[in-house]
């Protein structure tokens, strides 16, 4: 069964304190791995797509990396506005275009 596990469930950081979020996945064949940001009561907001091991993508203070078993979302010098839930999702070849989501990591950044 295709699965996505994110850790930690919650993370509290001080402004400027860099850290990483983990997404471990088990799929029969990975089509793509997606990171989204979700604010309370809102829809997931697209951040990155990664397709193959070794690939990296960056946007402002965020950097996503991918290996054959997991992905990391690195947050460098976070600001309070980075506080949100970060969702990881995968597309598997045998599951068509459906996204399989993890439970997310809720990040709180205090000033």
């Amino acid at each position: 069964e295709d699965q996505v596990t994110q850790s930690p469930e919650a993370l509290r950081l001080q402004e400027g304190e860099s850290s990483s979020l983990n997404c471990s996945y088990t799929v029969s064949g990975l089509r793509g791995l997606f990171w989204y940001r979700q604010d309370p009561g809102k829809g997931p907001e697209f951040l990155f797509t990664l397709y193959s091991a070794g690939e990296e993508k960056e946007k402002e203070r965020l950097k996503a990396t991918l290996t054959k078993k997991e992905s990391f979302l690195h947050i460098t010098a976070p600001k309070p506005e980075d506080s949100a839930t970060y969702l990881c999702a995968v597309q598997a070849f045998q599951a068509g275009t459906a996204l399989i989501f993890g439970k997310g990591t809720t990040l709180s950044v205090s000033s």
């Binding site: 089509r31 829809g43 697209f46 070849f93 275009t97 459906a98 996204l99």
Partner: protein, 115 residues
């Protein structure tokens, strides 16, 4: 920047009633999706729709659910006889191409409350 829109933002209904949730996907997108998120739980796939027919559906998407593209812009999810356990946020998403991997863009969601 184009975005997916959804109406209403919040729908309250009585158990057993029919509801229709509406979505306007991004205009040049070809694939459309519905997902739901029960409070405190994962986002779950319900159904995908392409070329005016269902492409894939999950076990959640039983006979109580149906989807339709009634015109060139709207995409709807109908729940025929709502149950308490249908209370959730429902998200519409769309993607641009018939590609092996393509980014899905999500709408803001409709919060459905079944009493």
């Amino acid at each position: 920047e184009p975005e997916v829109t959804q109406t209403p933002s919040h729908q309250v209904t009585q158990m057993g009633q029919e509801v229709i949730l509406r979505c306007v996907p991004i205009s040049n997108h070809l694939y459309f999706y519905w997902y739901r998120q029960i409070l405190g739980q994962k986002v779950e796939f319900l159904v995908s729709f392409y070329n005016n027919e269902i492409s894939e559906k999950s076990e959640i998407f039983d006979d109580q659910f149906s989807v339709e593209r009634p015109d060139g812009s709207n995409f709807t999810l109908k729940i025929r006889s709502t149950k308490l356990e249908d209370s959730a946020m429902y998200f519409c998403a769309s993607s641009a191409l018939l590609a092996n991997t393509d980014t899905q863009y999500f709408g803001p969601g409709t919060r459905l409350t079944v009493l």
